[in-house]
Assembly symmetry: C2
Homo-oligomer: 501 residues x 2
């Protein structure tokens, strides 16, 4: 086995390794059944990171040229080549965007998260509403009414901008948030993630810069990074984005837009103060830079409503406002929205038509019917009370089981609490041990741009009920104490971290 | 008013004109209430096309700096500028993709199509199933059963690759088409249009080449063009894509993939012979170029089933197969699928997760329930009989009302008949006159890459019933005869065409 990496090449190192291994396997130089070197060994021999080798082996496996399981090594397979034709070497055919897809950390890379759904494991890892709060008969009654009124039209096409009735329901929802927007300025999207993707395509070229709160929603980061955008981070404190730092960044980087989750931020739970909202909007106006305001949580306050959305203050269309029913009602509906200036709505509708034709009609009808019957508001009122109680249970259990060096936020709404671990412990090693004890969550490094933020955790409190929260936090704290108590051998700590990269 | 166009500039001419007009309006050089020159007049004064001026005025209107209605001219508005801040000049902020969105013809540009849905107008313009064939009580019963079985889970999240149950139902559907595909090789997408968009992003860079049948599905052309792909056309005859021409094109252009709708092609209704399917696959294997097989219609045969999908012949994963329940059941479900090699399915699932999180859960549950109860197959069997009868009615009426120089195809399945008009008549002028007589359809130039294919029409027969078809075709033929009978004044013909550009 003979491998060389050309550091001058445009081809990523993992692909170079994959190609060379493939050639040698197909030419019979590496026979079937050969055990390839362990990832770490090959990585240090070639002077690359372990994840480079993991990716190279992964491509070989995808092509059917190797198999491998954790702990058993990677074994060369008989090439699936017969009849004189070869399978396509897909990695070679991927676009730059296709390659970027696997270059960033994803939740799918965390084996511990696969325990989600097991009855003996409490999950703090999701960011969804508790749909068990919805009386199932309401779902049946609402759909029955829709079918009676619309017949098969209920599953037929709708305009690319969305059903007029749902855009009116959305306008009324925004009115409750203190924001007046005409239905013509609203486009229905398949959740706000889809709205983010439409805005990226409309406004950003690969290589362009985006200014974003960091830490922030990891789904937004992955979407920006995969599109090829350069992200400049702005820190977040308990009053939200540190707006004082924004002006110099605008002047220096000329970003295509500013991304913010100003209310009950994902992942920190922080809410941007009214003063900062006003200041950020003034900067956007002065520098003529749009603000993408991602606002999935603002209905979910515990006691007092949050400050109005930045969109409510916007007089000249600088704010591109995203929201969704995925957090207030249910994520499987795929009904979210973008409220924006007409040219953006028109372009987004055209792009939506070209790429997906239209949003799904059924989810829109269900939203309208729930809104019309007052059940949407019911749902939100119930969720506020339930999540407040669950957040309090989480806070109380953390206090009761507290470990030295631990600190966490006190959210006033939303779905997330943000936990800082003692410096010596990484969230990924805690996740591994915690999964063994019966609780999972998301490590905060997913929500950052670079390494070095490894001791934070995002804990969701909207799904588990108070007893489950108490059980899960207790499990996490047991795991944490176990890690704190272990002998201080650097070697051993590294090994544990490595197994979950 | 002083306008200059820099032909060396990267900025499109329409934007240059828009920017200059905007500056002059904002600076007060062009006062509120001014009537801007008619589009044609300004176009010839500046030596640009009329559509350049239409676009420039369109941007001004979008920015609130002008209003205009057909026949009343374009009037300068008071700038919506106050409190010392300006609205964002959105066109300046659009990406290259955003600009390309409006550079190609769209159905939205055809005012006659807005008559769709009027009771006195027969529409041959759509490409959808007749959802009135679905008994509405089945929709209610199916959903009731889903809610009873799954409770609120029915509207909760699903994996980015789609529900396992729907992927199994899809695998069984493909089995009926003679194609064995494992559920792990299937990803659920929001209709096959969405599948096309995912494949474009994964495999194609702006500037790359795609080989495509031409004429072809206009939604695919718009998707490819907007993404920035270069499309090389391969002609279609009554046995489908002219595969004999493909080899030299593969050698010359190294396309990223070959796009084909081999069965009951949109728009011609042609079906690719088995021999051509085999030959095309052999070329794809030889040149290692993927085939994107778009197969929405193959269940909808009138008498004999069509040849098997190319995917059925594919042993090495060269075929990326797209299909959908939008044509066999209902388009508002947004449930389609991509069946492909694992690396592509894995990358598509990751891209789907990053851009939309997941397909909608409700539509998937409905598909599974309809399939489980045998109602999906019922629906397809009914549609075959209905569409066969409607296609025959269209053919018979065309024969009875036939105008000189008219010819059309004889589809054996699907939803479309392809009509060639006498050379002297363009489909767009026929559409205008035909709309006045009470029938609309799609002009074939939308389905071509360049001008000069202006005398073809795509006629849908799946939605109107036989009496409506007879009425609509009679209206079209009345319109055609009126155009054929008119005095041969070139000026007059051009003027009529221009009003619908």
């Amino acid at each position: 086995m003979n491998l060389e990496i050309d550091t001058q090449s445009n081809i990523p190192a993992y692909l170079q390794i994959c190609h060379q291994l493939r050639d040698q396997i197909l030419q019979g130089d590496i026979p079937t059944g050969t055990q390839l070197p362990p990832e770490r060994t090959l990585a240090s021999a070639l002077g690359v990171s372990r994840s480079t080798i993991v990716n190279a082996y992964g491509e070989l496996k995808a092509e059917g040229l190797a198999t491998g399981y954790v702990g058993r090594g990677t074994i060369v397979e008989t090439p699936p080549t017969h009849l004189g034709s070869h399978p396509i070497a897909w990695p070679v055919h991927l676009s730059a965007l296709g390659h970027r897809l696997t270059q960033y950390p994803h939740t799918a890379d965390l084996p511990a998260l696969r325990l989600s759904g097991r009855p003996d494991v409490v999950s703090f890892a999701l960011g969804l509403p508790d749909t068990d709060l919805i009386p199932p008969d309401r779902l049946a009654v609402a759909w029955q009414a829709i079918v009676e009124r619309f017949g098969p039209t209920a599953i037929n096409m709708c305009p690319p901008q969305g059903l007029p009735a749902v855009r009116e329901a959305i306008a009324r929802r925004m009115e409750r948030r203190g924001t007046t927007v005409a239905p013509e300025h609203i486009i229905v999207v398949n959740g706000s993630q889809h709205g983010l993707d439409l805005l990226l395509r409309l406004l950003v070229e690969p290589g362009d810069t985006i200014l974003s709160e960091v830490p922030t929603y990891f789904g937004a980061l992955r979407c920006f990074q995969t599109w090829g955008a350069r992200i400049i981070g702005v820190p977040v404190d308990e009053r939200g984005m540190d707006v004082a730092r924004v002006e110099s960044l605008l002047a220096r980087y000329h970003p295509k837009f500013i991304y913010t989750v100003p209310t009950y931020q994902n992942p920190t739970g922080a809410t941007m103060s009214l003063e900062r909202r006003q200041r950020l909007l003034a900067l956007a106006q002065q520098y003529q830079v749009p603000i993408v305001e991602d606002d999935p949580f603002s209905d979910l306050y515990f006691d007092d409503p949050p400050p109005p959305p930045i969109k409510a203050l916007d007089r000249h269309g600088h704010v591109l406002y995203l929201s969704t029913f995925s957090k207030s009602l249910a994520p499987g509906l795929r009904v979210g929205w973008l409220a924006a200036a007409r040219p953006i709505v028109q372009h987004a509708a055209l792009l939506n038509q070209i790429t997906e034709l239209q949003p799904n009609t059924i989810g829109q009808h269900l939203v309208v019917e729930f809104a019309r019957r007052g059940w949407l508001e019911d749902q939100i009122v119930q969720a506020r009370a339930a999540y407040k109680e669950r957040c309090a249970a989480m806070d109380a259990t953390l206090k009761r089981r507290r470990a030295p060096g631990l600190r966490w936020t006190s959210p006033t709404g939303g779905m997330f609490l943000w936990l800082h671990l003692p410096e010596a412990i990484t969230a990924r090693e805690l996740l591994e041990e915690s999964a063994r004890q019966g609780a999972i969550f998301l490590p905060g490094d997913l929500m950052h741009l670079s390494d070095g933020h490894s001791n934070t955790c995002r804990l969701n409190f909207s799904i588990p009920d108070p007893p489950a929260i108490e059980r899960g936090i207790t499990a996490m704290m047991t795991a944490l104490k176990k890690l704190l108590d272990r002998p201080d051998e650097t070697g051993r700590t590294r090994a544990m971290t490595d197994t979950i990269v």
